[in-house]
């Protein structure tokens, strides 16, 4: 599939960590998704890939909180409600320990956003590993993100679309597991594509 996103901006910004803690409990799931999973593709230059962590650092100057929000490993998450609970607890616990930070106004407001996803068939069906690799070479950035990162929530299985297909349709669990070990946190999407192809290409020739 070819995936594209339109970013919708929420109407009510938050201006303090106290407001963030509250909004984390009530905001749409799509916003939790957007500021964690989806922001992974847009943060090659910032300290953290989570928008919440980045805001805690740059707008609130709370480096320790930022670090805690950033180290939540999205690879372990299979439900947005779980992720919401984890993030809200981190902020609430931090504010209990640092009550002076709760109502301090941030340098700039945080706007909850959500990505409106549009998918269309890519016209690149795959029946073999070779065809899969060829399709991956022709995927745009957002589609690669959709299949390798966003898919983890869709599948709710701590894996990605490619590994799932390789395991269940080609019966290569070892290859699926190897692909799933790629660390998407520290790659650009072009690097990620190359890492995936580096795993697939030797397997194609077997």
């Amino acid at each position: 599939m070819a995936a594209s996103y339109l970013v919708r901006i929420g109407a009510e910004p938050v201006r303090t960590l106290g407001e963030l803690a509250k909004s984390l409990r009530s905001c749409p799931q799509a916003s939790i998704f957007y500021h964690t999973f989806q922001s992974l593709e847009a943060h090659h230059y910032t300290s953290f890939s989570s928008d919440f962590a980045q805001w805690a650092l740059t707008a609130c100057n709370e480096a320790a909180l930022a670090e805690q929000l950033a180290i939540v490993d999205l690879r372990e998450i299979v439900s947005l409600e779980d992720l919401r609970g984890i993030l809200a607890k981190i902020v609430s616990d931090y504010l209990k320990e640092h009550p002076q930070a709760e109502n301090r106004r941030a340098f700039e407001a945080f706007y909850f956003c959500e990505g409106r996803e549009v998918t269309v068939p890519s016209g690149l069906p795959a029946w073999t590993l070779t065809e899969l690799a060829e399709g991956i070479r022709h995927l745009g950035h957002q589609s690669l993100h959709y299949h390798f990162i966003n898919s983890r929530l869709r599948l709710q299985l701590q894996t990605n679309d490619f590994s799932f297909w390789i395991e269940h349709s080609l019966n290569h669990p070892w290859l699926a597991a190897r692909l799933n070990r790629i660390d998407f946190y520290n790659d650009t999407l072009d690097d990620l594509r190359q890492d995936i192809l580096d795993v697939l290409e030797p397997a194609e020739s077997r």
């Binding site: 070819a2 594209s4 996103y5 339109l6 970013v7 919708r8 901006i9 109407a11 009510e12 910004p13 847009a42 090659h44 230059y45 910032t46 700039e108 407001a109 706007y111 956003c113 409106r116 549009v118 269309v120 068939p121 890519s122 016209g123 070479r137 022709h138 995927l139 745009g140 950035h141 957002q142 589609s143």
Partner: protein, 413 residues
């Protein structure tokens, strides 16, 4: 008075496939797939100037690409008298937070001009995209048909003058969706608000690669010495771009570095203040042969490209800013940028990673001196900035956002 349909440029324009060399073949393939879902739908874009300013530049490049992917797009420019544009300039400044001292009849004149344009225009298209406040009241034409109306706001509404915003907001509320250049620019509207970064065209004369000899020739033509550091701000002669503040920053740098300053720009047809500001700038620059104030005609894209490429550091010391596409232009040329943390600039300049953000003339001078003293750091900023623009602020992404927007509107948001 008549509305003006913008003539299609006669020069050979790049086609979508030409961008594959920059953004990659996969992005182009996916754009074509998306476009197939929108093909045959008609679009109208309306703004207030065909020449000068970022909006006209974007539309000049975007409209032909939309046509190419079979989304017929008509671009029309509203017309109005001198008084109308004087009023809309005051609105523009007021929406950026400046005081508003409009006469009693200004709102009435604004609406009357919109009404005259509305009567002369036809709105048969599937999607009507109205750019900025000047034509906002054309929404009065909206009927109950299947047409979708979108308001594209290119300016920073984070701190508007209440009187002007209260007047405009009821019109904005009648649209199906609004598009903003940054989340910080929004006003908590009831209609959907979408994030639309403005973009530059990497193949346009203003941004395409140039031969070093050509860059040198342009510098020579304007009597700029390529052997000494060149600090450049490219922008319209507009008080919100603070050209006099740039001269103040340059003078602080000049105490330590034998540098030159280039202030190059022109004026848009919808900006009646340009001539007065140019005069103020020329007066402030008097007596210093190293300050080059260049009032360029609107077709000087390749010269502006050369000036940016020939610069040591590019400055954008705006007091208020819409998005500040001149920043993206400079980053695309791998230039270190020193820019104010206003409007959409922080989306482009991430402090110390893709450029330096500043808050005053003194801060501007301080960071310029730092970069002149640390050229290897300045080079890294330029390289990062180029990648950042490539990922977020190129024309192909703008085309993609519009196609996705139209699909979303068709599906009903």
């Amino acid at each position: 008075m008549s509305t003006t349909e913008v003539a299609k440029p006669s020069a050979v324009l790049p086609v979508l496939q030409d961008y594959a060399a920059i953004v990659g073949e996969p992005e182009i393939l996916e754009l074509r797939e998306l476009a197939r879902r929108v093909a045959g739908r008609h679009v109208k874009m309306v703004n207030s100037t065909a020449v000068g300013g970022g909006v006209a530049e974007i539309l000049n490049r975007l409209v032909p690409l939309m046509e190419e992917v079979n989304v017929p797009t008509r671009w029309e420019v509203i017309t109005g008298g001198e008084k109308f544009f004087h009023i809309t300039k005051a609105f523009h400044n007021a929406l950026h937070g400046a005081p508003y001292e409009g006469a009693a009849d200004w709102f009435e004149t604004f609406l009357a001009t919109n009404e005259e344009n509305r009567r002369r225009m036809r709105f048969d298209e599937d999607f009507v995209v109205i750019h900025d406040p000047q034509p906002v009241a054309l929404i009065a034409e909206r009927n109950s048909g299947p047409h979708r109306w979108v308001w594209r706001c290119h300016i920073d509404l984070s701190n508007p003058n209440a009187q002007v915003w209260d007047f405009l907001k009821p019109w904005v509320d009648r649209y199906d969706a609004s598009l903003f250049s940054s989340p910080q620019f929004t006003r908590g509207l009831r209609i959907p608000q979408y994030l639309f970064f403005p973009t530059i065209d990497p193949l346009a004369d203003k941004n395409r690669d140039l031969e070093p000899e050509f860059v040198r020739d342009v510098l020579e033509k304007f009597h700029i010495d390529p052997a000494r550091p060149i600090l450049t701000q490219i922008s319209r002669f507009d008080r919100l771009k603070d050209p006099v503040g740039v001269i103040r920053a340059y003078r602080l740098v000049k105490k330590y570095e034998d540098c030159q300053l280039v202030l190059a720009g022109g004026s848009a047809t919808d900006d009646p203040e340009g001539a007065a500001v140019l005069q103020e700038v020329e007066q402030a620059a008097t007596g210093d042969p190293d300050i080059h104030v260049l009032n360029l005609p609107p077709w000087s894209h390749v010269e502006i490209n050369a000036l940016q490429r020939g610069s040591t550091i590019v400055i954008q010391k705006s007091l208020r800013e819409g998005f500040g596409l001149t920043v993206s232009e400079a980053l695309w040329k791998k230039k270190p940028v020193v820019a104010s943390a206003v409007g959409g600039i922080p989306s482009q300049v991430i402090h110390k990673l893709t450029g330096m953000l500043v808050h005053s003339a003194e801060g501007t001078a301080y960071q310029i001196r730092f970069l002149l003293a640390n050229p290897s750091f300045a080079k890294v900023l330029g390289e990062n900035g180029y990648q950042h623009v490539k990922e977020h602020f190129l024309l192909t992404q703008n085309l993609k956002r519009y196609l996705v927007l139209f699909l979303v509107l068709l599906q009903g948001d």
